[in-house]
Symmetry: C2
Subunit: 350 residues, 2 copies
DNA sequence: AAATATAGTTGGAACGTTCCAAATGTCGGC
DNA sequence: GCCGACATTTGGAACGTTCCAACTATATTT
């Protein structure tokens, strides 16, 4: 903790000019000292720093940013923080940004396009050095073009929008569900459902494709009703399982769009007296921390959300350093984590 | 979406001076228009706004803040975003702040005191108008005194630190666990454990006290080993249940420090082939959204985290308007939500 | 007709930095 | 005693706003 300022109190917060006066140098010198410039003699620098401490000086980043025509703020737009996946992503993001001396301007959209537009505009007014955007559903490519016209570096996370010319960090969704499905097949499952949205943009699309490809590759057909359309929430997961269990050609396991859908699925199974991993198999997607301590612990395709966040931040920082390099891209290779929620395909007890 | 700027392009982003020129007024007038001042004739204002749109003007809040010696940024310090309780809190907080035209500077400490000190200092440099701090464990009262010396309004959330002179938003922890415990007692339980930290600051203290008071009030004694010391995580919850079930005088239910501890408890019970609500009762604390779709759905003491966040934001905004009113305080009245994880006290199957 | 009030507009000095160009001081070599 | 080279330091004009005091009209009162 810094010492209390001891010098004579001015009526207002001290500025570099005050320090300059106290240390008998010019304010230019003070400015250079604060920037750790090697131009200044060590002795002088020490004297300046002493004066600054004595006066209780605090750097005014706003003023500096105005003059430098730059800032160290990164705007981060998240749409659903109540999904732990995004919370963990944000943690990784913020940690990395903080480590590099940046500060996070955070906003939450709740999937609302107008809110999204508003917060982006606000971040622009604050001169954010860069933006990290997890686009709300139905975000148009036009919005991205607009941001590009703002000339603020922007990185898209998780949900690809627009063309390939934007920096992007996400995960290999198709490969992920492919691996998930293969896992169930290897466990002996032949009748597998997919719980996700039917028309929910590219992420849903790819995850479903990974599922269908794995089924096809293994010579399995997807029977009517196994592609179950739900909202990607815990509630949706429950509904999905209800639907699955009511099917005439009942599946023995399900690939879930993401982990929270899977949680809902586990809950509904439990309510029916069924135990995931024994009576029915459930696989999630995301690898959020809660999965390890779900009931039962959840088999999932992990993309390590915190790490994805760090990578996203890293990409944006690279972009800031290299404004005109070709589009950057990071695709997390999802990894299968086998826990108890998946197991052999027995017959369901009646 | 605003129209593309159509006017002649300058080499640099347009400023109020450029608008002034285009609209044939002074920059003072432009400034007043941007502030919606009633001093300016409607006709003139319209002309100015037109010019601003045409040039693609974007307000420079940094410059304005420098001159006004104020800002619209609120610094928010959260220590554990991976706990959905805090994520939901943050959502409520941010929503309220955004509604009032403020922007959220968010930082994550991961319970690290040094990180906390660093991010607070950083927020000061950025001239945050106010701070919302959920103090990391072991935060000293001295730190708060220091912040007070900075003359930045600060609101403490969730964990009380320092004296009563700080604005605070939290919940009635003692009443919460009291109600939780009474609930189990009413269900017929007589042997109840408490899963929490033994020396973890005021929140733990109060929640434990609510438990002990309820037990005492109902003439029940707390036997050796029923106060179980764990870290307040999912992992801790599992360990706690393991410990509880191994006791010679085995409890039939447990009050958990918070919901994620309860989730761990549910997981461990499941692993042992026990079903919460039938074989053992579990009550959480916080009321995070996941609780409704846990396996089984979790009985909990809800403080409605999102609403708590909104209230916290509201308090801080009030403080900004009334810098010298007496300390503000909001105590959420926690509410018992009965779901399936608690039930009658049967005997445990051997 | 002068004085006063009112509405609308404006010049210019801040706000606290940065950074360029220029100034100063010191040293060695001639 | 002068020159250039180098190490340090500095004056002052920006950066894009706000806001006070002053100014110009025009209308109203005396």
């Amino acid at each position: 903790m810094p010492a209390q300022p001891t010098g004579k109190a001015l009526g207002r917060p001290p500025t570099i000019t005050d320090i300059a006066e106290a240390a008998h140098v010019s304010k230019s010198t003070v400015s250079l000292v604060l920037q750790d410039s090697p131009l200044i003699k060590a002795e002088t620098a020490a004297r300046v720093r002493e004066a600054a401490d004595a006066l209780g000086y605090v750097y005014n980043r706003g003023a500096a940013d105005l003059r430098r025509r730059a800032s160290n703020m990164i705007g981060t737009v998240i749409n659903d923080l109540t999904n732990p996946f995004f919370a963990e992503l944000l943690v990784g993001l913020e940690r990395r940004l903080a480590d590099d001396g940046y500060v996070t301007l955070m906003a939450h959209t709740g999937e609302n396009l107008q809110t999204q537009q508003r917060v982006l505009a606000s971040m622009r007014e604050y001169h954010a050095a860069g933006l990290i955007l997890c686009p709300a559903f139905d975000t148009s490519a036009a919005l991205l073009q607009q941001i590009r016209a703002w000339r603020i570096p922007v990185l898209i996370v998780v949900r690809p929008v627009g063309d390939e010319s934007f920096d992007y960090a996400g995960s290999d969704n198709e490969a992920g569900t492919f691996a998930a499905t293969e896992h169930l097949i290897e466990q002996g499952h032949r009748r597998i459902a997919f719980l996700g949205r039917v028309a929910g943009g590219p992420v849903y699309e790819l995850r479903r494709q990974g599922f269908t490809r794995a089924m096809r590759d293994h010579g399995l057909t997807i029977e009517d009703g196994w592609l179950i359309d739900i909202t990607p929430t815990r509630e949706g997961g429950r509904a999905g399982i209800r639907q699955a269990l009511d099917l005439r050609s009942r599946p023995t396991g399900a690939i879930c769009y993401n982990d929270i859908v899977a949680f809902g699925a586990l809950s509904e199974l439990g309510e029916r007296g069924l135990r995931a991993g024994r009576d029915f198999s459930v696989v999630g997607f995301d690898g959020i921390a809660d999965g390890a301590h779900a009931n039962p612990p959840l088999t999932t395709i992990s993309v390590d959300p915190a790490r994805l966040g760090e990578s996203a931040a890293r990409l944006l920082l690279t972009r800031l350093r290299e404004p005109s390099s070709p589009p950057l891209r990071y695709l997390a290779q999802p990894q299968l984590i086998v826990r108890q929620s998946s197991g052999g395909a027995g017959e369901l007890p009646e």
